[in-house]
């Protein structure tokens, strides 16, 4: 940590906010280009069917319709790639150039595999006309049997989705030590088991996805505007792997993006369609999804069915952990879906605990559901849920306080770097301090009195703890390649110093609401000792920022942030060298002051230059020795040695209404550790939002497919999200354990607090119902589900 930190690490107003508050930010639906046309996409109404024919003639004759396309129009376009093949799992799909497997065509031609599977696209003068024409497209389907559960899909006799994938098994993936774990289970004094359903959920950013394609024939250039969290990645995937055009012919721009939580990093057919159709029509093509369209085509999250076993001693020492999981990949492997279902989950299952023997196996299966992808806390939330449920179950079994069991098994401070036996090496941690702080803040020892008081009001009070470790800062390219990631995961930054002393910084990330323009300006200003107002930040445009990987896995501040800090240090070095030449002293004698004044050591009063003085001197380029090039324009590609591992402890207190089964979260305490925090205001907001996202999974959210594979929950009338009245204010605090893996000491923060709340809330409800013999309930804990526990006989008919 540098000593001169003044504007970084402190709360500040966000420079993005006024524009957002005034409704002046440009989101994808607000992008307007001259001669714009509008696209709508026809999604399948059946979960599994052969397409015997498509008749588009009536649609083509509709008013305003310019073009109707089906799979036949794109026979020469490469399929969308899947770029995360975990553990070198064999790919069953046709190969791409650069060794990547293809996964799905732009439009499905002979077969559909999920409701919403894209079949045809219409371009018309207006969006209304395009949507109206969709209804005139006639599709002749021959229905096929449907399977929507991963464990059903790999059973004998299940409907088969892909000819190339016998048994629907995309991958059998394992991590950990199987023999040691089986031995630990066999020798265990105590063994507890649970069958868990980590239900499928829909991420639901408030802004639906959208894309605008603009092809200019005169220069043969393509521009894609898209609601993306990874413009550079989408440029790479689209140019090189789908369209087969030169890399320098595609520019990708993300306008203001209205939330993502993982879903907008994926490659979707619409992104390629708007570009190809713009070329066909010679006009810009715009597509904005509907809410139902989003729910039926944008990647969904979670979806594991698990059998988990914990072995331990009678005095509370965990000795073994075993997980068998059936992961539902959906109908196609999305851009990185297989990695979410395997490594992100499996390697994380031991959480904060020192467990001598752990093993996880995942059966990854295709089903007739929307493809699986990331969702805020992806993989880590699923892992934490199983571990934290098991710990409570174990505590009940041995009659010990769940807090005491956890305390006994926490990885101690002197064990770091700590290899968790499942493939992750935790960088740093102070788990005990974090844990104790959370329990104290929550008033954990007073719960018996509170339970009695609540009972008097017809409420059952329950308390639940959840601890977590979340792998973040996805970045070490070599480490990710070992996980099967087919692409670099470094991050870049550039700082250009203008002659009048202002600075432009470009980064490869792309904010989807994380106030990047604010916090990156803080990083640069802090390093250079200048005012943040002097720092312009640019991202999310592949023409402006040279390269980058995007925003995902809570990586922006702990990847792009350190990259910017390192670039700023290069700027300072060049200023010192230039100053040394101008002062005609040895460079060792030149000091770059914390206030951005550069001076000769011991002679600050007489021999000094301001940042702006040197910027101008370097712009003129006069009096510089030949080894110093004019101007300052520095770049860093930052590839850290390993991931970073934020962690924390959350405590939920709930009250279950005896009469209705309604669960109310009455207090919630979260102590998170994201290492060094660049802007506490921003992180606090992310923590609060993340926790509520976790409540959603615990209490109300579920993507429901019926037996025919229809998505029953395809809009907000059927898919419940938490609302303001569903949550209390939280008690938040943090500990700060810097990571050694980047120069800021920063760990991921954006999504980490989504990881534990589902476990904390379910633990609390089970605690509230413990005297009824309830040992586990599957999420979501709807009032009906809980009421049935309170009224096992139900109501007489």
């Amino acid at each position: 940590m540098s000593a001169g930190r003044r504007v970084l690490g402190v709360a500040s107003d966000c420079r993005e906010d006024p524009q957002l508050l005034r409704g002046e930010a440009t989101f994808i639906a607000d992008v307007e280009l001259p001669r714009m046309t509008h696209m709508a996409i026809l999604g399948s109404e059946h979960a599994h069917a052969l397409i015997k024919g498509i008749d588009t003639s009536a649609a083509e004759a509709m008013p305003g319709v310019l073009k109707v396309v089906t799979a036949a129009d794109f026979a020469n376009v490469m399929p969308l790639p899947c770029i995360w093949i975990p553990g070198g799992v064999e790919s069953h799909f046709p190969p791409h150039p650069y060794g990547l497997p293809g996964s799905r065509p732009l439009l499905s031609g002979d077969r559909v595999r999920h409701v919403g599977d894209q079949i045809a696209a219409v371009v018309a003068e207006t969006a209304w006309q395009a949507h109206a024409a969709l209804k005139a497209i006639r599709v002749d389907y021959e229905l096929l049997p449907v399977v929507t559960r991963a464990d059903d899909a790999i059973a004998e006799g299940a409907p088969q989705l892909h000819e190339a994938v016998p048994g629907n098994l995309n991958a059998y993936w394992t991590c950990g030590n199987k023999e040691a774990t089986e031995r630990a289970l066999a020798d265990a004094e105590v063994k507890v088991e649970l069958d868990l359903v980590n239900q499928r959920t829909i991420n639901s950013p408030m802004e639906p996805r959208g894309a605008v394609g603009h092809y200019v024939a005169a220069t043969d250039d393509y521009t894609l505007y898209a609601s993306t969290q990874g413009p550079h990645n989408h440029r790479f995937l689209l140019a090189a792997l789908v369209l087969g055009i030169p890399f320098n012919k595609l520019r990708v721009i993300a306008p203001t993006v209205g939330g993502s939580f993982g879903t907008k990093g994926y490659l979707y057919p619409d992104m390629a369609l708007v570009l190809l159709l713009s070329k066909m029509l010679g006009r810009p093509v715009k597509w904005v999804d509907t809410r139902t369209g989003l729910m039926r085509s944008t990647v969904q999250g979670r979806d594991h069915r698990q059998h988990v076993t914990l072995a331990g001693t009678r005095d509370g020492r965990i000795t073994g952990l075993h997980c068998t999981s059936y992961a539902n990949l959906g109908a196609y492997p999305s851009t990185i879906g297989p990695g979410v279902a395997t490594a992100l989950m499996g390697r994380s299952i031991s959480g904060m605990y020192q467990i001598p023997a752990a093993f996880c196996e995942v059966y990854v299966a295709f089903t007739n559901t929307v493809p699986l992808g990331a969702q805020r806390g992806s993989g880590r939330a699923e892992a934490t849920f199983l571990m934290e449920r098991l710990v409570d179950r174990y505590a009940t079994e041995i009659g010990m306080d769940p807090a005491e069991v956890r305390r006994k098994n926490l990885v101690p401070n002197d064990a770091f770097p700590y290899e968790n036996g499942l493939g992750w090496t935790y960088d740093s941690g102070s788990y005990r301090e974090n844990f104790d702080k959370a329990l104290e803040l929550a008033g954990y020892t007073d719960m018996d009195e509170r339970k009695a008081e609540a009972r008097g009001r017809g409420k059952r009070l329950g308390v639940g703890i959840a601890c977590y470790v979340a792998i973040c800062g996805v970045g070490p390219s070599t480490r990710m390649s070992q996980e099967g990631m087919l692409g670099g995961t470094w991050e870049s930054s550039n700082i250009r110093v203008h002659p009048t002393g202002e600075v432009s910084a470009t980064v490869g990330s792309a904010s989807t609401g994380q106030s990047h323009y604010t916090v990156y300006a803080q990083v640069v200003a802090d390093e250079l000792g200048i005012d943040p107002a002097q720092v312009q930040v640019m991202e999310a445009d592949t023409l402006r920022a040279p390269y980058g990987q995007g925003t995902y896995g809570s990586r922006s501040f702990s990847m792009a942030g350190p990259s910017l800090a390192l670039t700023a240090r290069k700027v300072k070095e060049k200023m010192r060298r230039a100053a040394a030449a101008l002062f005609q002293v040895d460079v060792d004698k030149v000091v770059y002051g914390e206030d951005g004044v550069i001076f000769v050591q011991g002679e600050r009063e007489t021999q000094s230059k301001t940042f702006a003085d040197l910027a101008m001197a370097l712009w003129y380029g006069w009096n510089l020795p030949p080894e110093i090039e004019p101007t300052i324009d520095e770049t860093t590609f930052f590839d850290p040695p390993d991931f970073n591992y934020p962690f924390g402890t959350h405590v939920a207190v709930v009250e279950v209404d005896e009469l209705t089964g309604q669960t109310e979260v009455v207090s919630y305490t979260a102590v998170d550790d994201a290492g060094f925090v660049g802007n506490p205001t921003i992180v606090k907001g992310q923590i609060e939002g993340s926790i509520v996202h976790g409540f959603g999974q615990a209490l109300m959210e579920q993507a429901v497919y019926d037996e025919q594979g229809n998505l029953v929950t395809a809009d907000f009338r059927n898919y419940a999200l938490p609302r303001a009245a569903d949550v209390p204010f939280f008690q938040l605090d943090r500990t700060e354990t810097p990571t050694p893996h980047n120069p800021l000491g920063a760990k991921g923060a954006g999504e980490i607090a989504t990881v534990p709340p589902a476990a904390a809330v379910v633990n609390a409800v089970v605690n509230a119902l413990a005297d009824l013999g309830v040992q586990h309930l599957d999420m979501p804990l709807t009032p009906e589900k809980v009421w049935r526990q309170l009224n096992p006989e139900g109501v007489a008919p």
Binding site: C14, L20, L21, G23, A25, T256, T512, F716, A725
Partner: protein, 154 residues
């Protein structure tokens, strides 16, 4: 419309939000769900907050419509916007215009709503980023400021 008279011909089935965005270029009002659940399209009709995806344009004939574009003084922020800015009651900002329009209605009719009342009022709004905390604090901030102003002047 935001203090000016606007004439436009619309088909009877056109929703207010469509007219605002597509005909009048007032894109601060957002479309988030198509079913009247999310509240990103809230505007004020004769001072009352309404979801503009649930109002036909023709229903607004001879009525006053205020959108997010019409609330802030030139180059500034109104009291609700200012309080939300202080509390960072935005993140991605997509629901923000609807939140501002909705809270303006509440805070114009009730000077000191309780936390419970604010949360209940926001039931028509979905926000996936903030968990509502900073938005609720923002609303409380407006109430506190409006109480503080006369006190300071007395």
């Amino acid at each position: 419309m935001n203090g000016k008279t606007v004439e436009t011909d619309v088909e009877p089935q056109r929703l207010l939000v469509e007219t605002l965005r597509d005909e009048l270029g007032l894109t601060g009002t957002k479309v988030g769900c198509d079913t009247g659940q999310c509240g990103t399209c809230v505007v004020q009709l004769d001072g009352l907050s309404v979801k503009s995806c649930l109002v036909l344009t023709v229903q607004t004939e001879a009525h006053e419509v205020t959108t997010i574009e019409g609330v802030a003084p030139e180059g500034g922020l109104d009291a609700v916007q200012e309080s939300l800015r202080k509390e960072h009651g935005t993140q991605c900002g997509f629901c923000t215009p609807g939140v501002v329009m909705s809270l303006r209605d509440l805070l114009e009719r009730e000077k000191e709503p309780s936390e419970e009342r604010i949360r209940e009022w926001l039931t028509g709004t979905l926000c996936r980023c903030t968990g509502y905390h900073s938005i609720v604090r923002g609303a409380q901030g407006v109430a506190a400021a409006s109480v503080a102003v006369p006190a300071a002047g007395s």
